[in-house]
């Protein structure tokens, strides 16, 4: 790499660092990984992500891959998916998994929570209509239990129903027999997961990444 190119990359990285909040070192590491996954191309496609062997055992494989190509996670306020993503988009999705800084104000903490919960919400809400319907939730729980054999499949429905009922009763309270609860909106979602400390749980340690371990991922 020529000096001018590396200078340009540095500048880009700095720009990205400011926008996503990663440190330069972390961006450098993630860039290496990006190049590795995309086989040194500029963009990453679904196929590239799907070829990671370690993901095979993960019941949420499909949803995770979809999340990377979901426009809502790319800070674009539109629905739909893209076919390929660049490094910047990759970083944007990853930025949802940054840990919270040590001293942040209540406001910032709340903002962080909303951001992370929004990511999870988007993963459930597959048709992008802003609510998680019973069907979508059922599918989510089924996927979660998909590795559990037949027992999982049968009770998945029951669990999803019970969870939905719980949401309905905590957010709507009493309902007449003919009323219909359409689905979980984002506000309801926030409410039921109020005691769930997602801002501390949903993080990946980007600190200790180094290229040596990265090669094992493929």
């Amino acid at each position: 790499m020529g000096a001018s190119q590396s200078a340009r990359t540095e500048h880009e990285f700095q720009d990205l660092a400011d926008r996503t909040g990663f440190s330069l070192e972390q961006i450098g590491n993630l860039n290496k990984r990006f190049r590795q996954l995309s086989k040194n191309e500029e963009t990453l496609s679904r196929q590239d992500l799907a070829s990671i062997s370690a993901l095979d055992n993960n019941p949420l494989r499909a949803q995770i891959i979809n999340a990377f190509f979901d426009k809502r996670n790319l800070r674009q306020n539109e629905a739909g998916t893209v076919q390929v993503i660049g490094f910047e988009e990759f970083l944007m999705v990853m930025s949802h998994f940054r840990p919270a800084a040590m001293h942040i104000t209540e406001e910032e903490r709340e903002k962080l929570r909303r951001e992370k919960l929004r990511f999870v919400f988007n993963m459930h809400d597959t048709d992008s209509d802003g609510t998680i319907t019973l069907e979508e939730y059922r599918r989510a729980v089924e996927e979660l239990l998909s590795k559990a054999g037949t027992i999982g499949q049968e009770t998945a429905k029951a669990i999803a129903d019970a969870a939905m009922l719980e949401v309905a009763s905590t957010t709507r309270g009493k309902m007449e027999p003919d009323e219909f609860y359409e689905g979980i909106t984002f506000e309801n979602f926030l409410q039921i997961l109020k005691t769930f400390d997602i801002e501390t749980r949903m993080h990946v340690r980007f600190l200790n990444m180094d290229t040596a371990t990265m090669r094992c991922g493929k």
Partner: protein, 794 residues
């Protein structure tokens, strides 16, 4: 407690008299086995004398009065030892009882302080009575009998998830922190001793270091006792508590190291290296021993389905043997116990019955509670017993140094640890961790174990240890609660685990593992996931009986919640609305998308209209002869066999219960008939019976016969049960209102015709449901022989 003044007074009076009696008996003739380490030579002779005199007295009696048959005689020696032990235990329990009668006191002063005071009182009374105070806190008794139950209770119920998440921090505090404390205190004490004018110059370096290592270990018993009452948040609790458990290995090694070499007078670098190796062996060895016994226990529990009654015994005996085996090799017994409990728990719980699980839980709680009480009382007694050698300089310097070293240690370590933690420890957290480092009876017992010849200043050490213990337990123990409130430290969340949270916990686990894989980073989640898969694939297969090992955690959680709800429901009397859980009337139909046309949907409504309900209730009520029959008396036998005798009324009542149960249980509807082997299903089986048929697809139309294993071929009970519940599932069979009408008519009639009528209906619609019901009723799996008296709805 709303006891009247008179009652309270009477109770206190009884306890006082009891105390007096206890004191006299305990003082008069102390038990022989407690005096294993006999430092009160004089007392021993007196005891012998007593026995000799009593014996000869009896003998003379015997030869003298040959003719008179001793109608009533007193033979205390015969039962002496068990009697005294029981007396102590009873005293401890009564004390515990007594404290809760005085709520104001127990709010201000932690229980441990009160118990020490009681011990002081008892010891004082014994001394006043002129008797020799028995050396009750003998090290053997303490380490072999009193300590294991507490540690086992802690280990078995250790919250694994927070423990493992913070394991790095805990280990840092336990190992590095304790080492720092030991050397700091020991070293500085030695320096102080060397100062002229303190008359302490004969205290050498190594004994000082030994003393430092004894006193620097945070004590799990004291920590448990105090922290239990302040309800602090989970993170801090697990940090301090985990530290107190894991520092045992360090303490053991340091203790042995210094004890060995204080005779030699010096420690070479080679010894230090050996010490480090010893530490690794002690800790890892202890864990290994514990894990082996844990696996053995899990494996044994796989085969206990026919002997449910002794299941808890395996848990206790294997754990105790793990402890003893570790102690045999001078490994860390505490770590062995923790490892054993933590390892065996998931597998044993999957295998044993619900009642055994309850038994284990309550026995552990009971034993650990009694042990803890006894330990504190004995501390008080031992303080009075002495012997003491008070040295102002030594004692005060010890107390101050302990505090200082603890604070410096915690602050310094946190500084380093915070670089690696995601959730940093704030200053408030650090303060609580430092302040919560209480010393307790373990330090005392270790001091007691010291050989008097090797350590001439043993009594001074003991005095200092006791003072330190008193200081931490009284001063720190009493003030920590107001300080926690003052500093507004986060308290324990009392919120119930909801199913949404559980779903998302699992969801996050997988999500984060996936992201880590995408990053190519072998982090926390990756290894955890790998371990889980290994566990599921190989280990669970060996250690869990039947098909249960396939049950994922989410499902187990869900069943548990169902089960709990069902129990709550029945215990609250069935007709009473549950105050907790689901206060609203949201039911399935509110969230089910309306796919069917309105006409069909109306018929498919699983609920009765209000009017109909009232009618049913009225009719049922008018026909009931027993106003209230506890459902607990039902078991699956009466369910099938009874109706032909006099069970009609029972049946009606049951039906009423079912109706109401259904309505309340509308939250957890769609549980299909899971394989009978699933333990949670078996425990929940009877609770979920009503719903077991809700969603079973009408796969085969018109299965002609109802297969019943037991007595009667077709009991209207079971059939009607089917009818009842099939109504809920009668999406495609709109039999709702018609059914009810039929039943109303059949009210006073004979059984057979009505049953015959219902049979047909039962057959056509219930045919599909039968396998489910029969499977549950006839062979509910391993819990078959479980509890004959298990109620229909547990």
């Amino acid at each position: 407690m709303s006891l009247s003044f008179l009652e309270r007074g009477l109770l206190l009076l009884v306890m006082l008299i009891f105390l007096e009696g206890t004191v006299l008996t305990l003082g008069a003739a102390s038990s022989p086995d407690i005096s294993a380490q006999d430092n009160t030579g004089g007392g021993h002779d007196r005891r012998d004398d007593h026995r000799g005199i009593a014996g000869s007295h009896e003998q003379t009696n015997y030869t003298y009065t040959k003719k008179a048959f001793p109608v009533l005689s007193l033979d205390y020696h015969h039962i002496q030892v068990p009697f005294e032990i029981s007396l102590w235990v009873l005293l401890a329990s009564l004390m515990k009882l007594g404290f809760h009668l005085i709520p104001r006191l127990s709010g201000i002063v932690p229980e441990s302080c009160l118990l020490i005071v009681v011990g002081l009182l008892v010891g004082g009374l014994i001394k006043l009575a002129g008797e020799e105070v028995p050396p009750v806190l003998d090290s053997n008794l303490f380490f072999l009998c009193l300590l294991p139950p507490i540690i086992l209770d802690a280990g078995y119920f250790l919250p694994i998830r927070p423990f493992m998440e913070n394991i790095g921090t805990i280990l840092m505090f336990a190992v590095v922190g304790t080492l720092w404390n030991a050397f700091f205190v020991g070293g500085l004490l030695y320096a102080v001793c060397q100062i002229e004018g303190t008359y302490l110059s004969q205290v050498e370096l190594l004994p000082c270091l030994l003393f430092g290592s004894i006193i620097s270990a945070v004590d799990p018993v004291a920590v448990l006792a105090v922290f239990e009452e302040i309800h602090i948040n989970e993170l801090l609790h697990i940090l301090v508590f985990g530290e107190s458990l894991l520092n045992d290995a360090v303490t053991v090694v340091l203790y042995h190291l210094f004890e060995e070499y204080s005779g030699a007078g010096e420690v070479t670098p080679m010894d230090v290296v050996l010490g480090v190796i010893c530490f690794l062996i002690v800790s890892l060895g202890g864990i290994a021993v514990g894990a082996i016994y844990g696996i053995l226990a899990a494996f044994t529990s796989r085969f206990t389905s026919h002997t449910r009654v002794i299941e808890p015994l395996f848990v206790f005996v294997y754990s105790y043997m793990a402890y003893l085996s570790a102690e045999m090799f001078h490994l860390s017994g505490i770590m062995a116990l923790i490892a054993c409990g933590a390892v065996m728990r998931p597998y044993v719980e999957a295998n044993i019955s619900h009642k055994s699980h309850t038994t284990v839980k309550y026995f552990l709680k009971m034993w650990s509670s009694v042990s803890e009480t006894l330990i504190f009382i004995f501390l008080g007694v031992a303080t009075v017993a002495g012997p003491h050698a008070w040295n102002w300089t030594f004692v005060s310097v010890t107390v101050i140094l302990c505090l200082v070293s603890r604070v410096i240690g915690v602050v310094g370590l946190t500084f380093i640890i915070n670089k690696f933690r995601i959730v940093k420890l704030t200053t408030k957290d650090q303060f609580i961790v430092a302040y919560g480092g209480l010393r307790g009876a373990i330090a005392f017992s270790l001091g007691y174990l010291l050989n008097k010849d090797h350590f001439p200043m043993r009594t001074m050490f003991l005095t200092a240890i006791i003072t330190e213990i008193f200081f931490t337990v009284f001063v720190q123990g009493m003030t920590i609660k107001p300080l926690v409130d003052l500093l507004a430290v986060k308290k324990k969340q009392e919120a119930k685990r909801s199913i949404n949270e559980e779903i998302h916990t699992q969801f996050l686990d997988h999500l984060l593992t996936g992201i880590e894989d995408i990053c190519g980073h072998y982090g926390h989640h990756h290894w955890k996931d790998k371990l889980n898969r290994f566990n599921k694939k190989y280990i669970k297969k060996c250690l869990i009986a039947g098909e249960r090992y396939k049950e994922p955690q989410l499902i187990a959680f869900y069943h548990k919640m169902e089960f709990k709800q069902a129990i709550e429901l029945v215990e609250s009397g069935g007709g009473v609305k549950l105050p907790s859980a689901m206060p609203s009337q949201v039911s399935m139909q509110n969230i089910q998308p309306k796919k069917l046309p309105p006409a069909v949907a109306e018929r498919a409504l699983p609920q009765f209209t209000k009017g109909r309900e009232e009618e049913i209730r009225k009719i049922l009520r008018s026909n009931l002869q027993k106003t209230r029959q506890r459902l607990r008396s039902y078991n699956r036998h009466t369910l099938v066999a009874d109706p032909f005798e006099d069970g009609w009324n029972d049946f009606l009542l049951k039906k009423q219960r079912m109706i109401e149960l259904e309505k309340k249980m509308s939250n957890y509807l769609t549980v299909p008939a899971a394989p009978p082997d699933s333990p949670t299903m078996c425990r929940a089986r009877l609770a979920s019976d009503p719903n077991a048929f809700y969603n079973i697809k009408a796969s085969s139309e018109g299965v002609p016969t109802i297969q019943v294993d037991l007595a009667s071929p077709q009991s209207p009970d079971s059939v009607n049960m089917l009818n009842e519940f099939s109504k809920r599932g009668a999406k495609d069979q709109g039999l709702g209102q018609r059914e009810v009408a039929t039943r109303d008519e059949d009210q006073g009639l004979m059984m057979k015709p009505s049953s015959a009528g219902k049979e047909e209906k039962g057959e056509e619609e219930g045919g599909n449901k039968n396998p489910g019901l029969m499977r549950c009723l006839s062979d509910p799996g391993p819990s078959n022989e479980d509890e004959e008296d298990e109620p229909f709805l547990p």
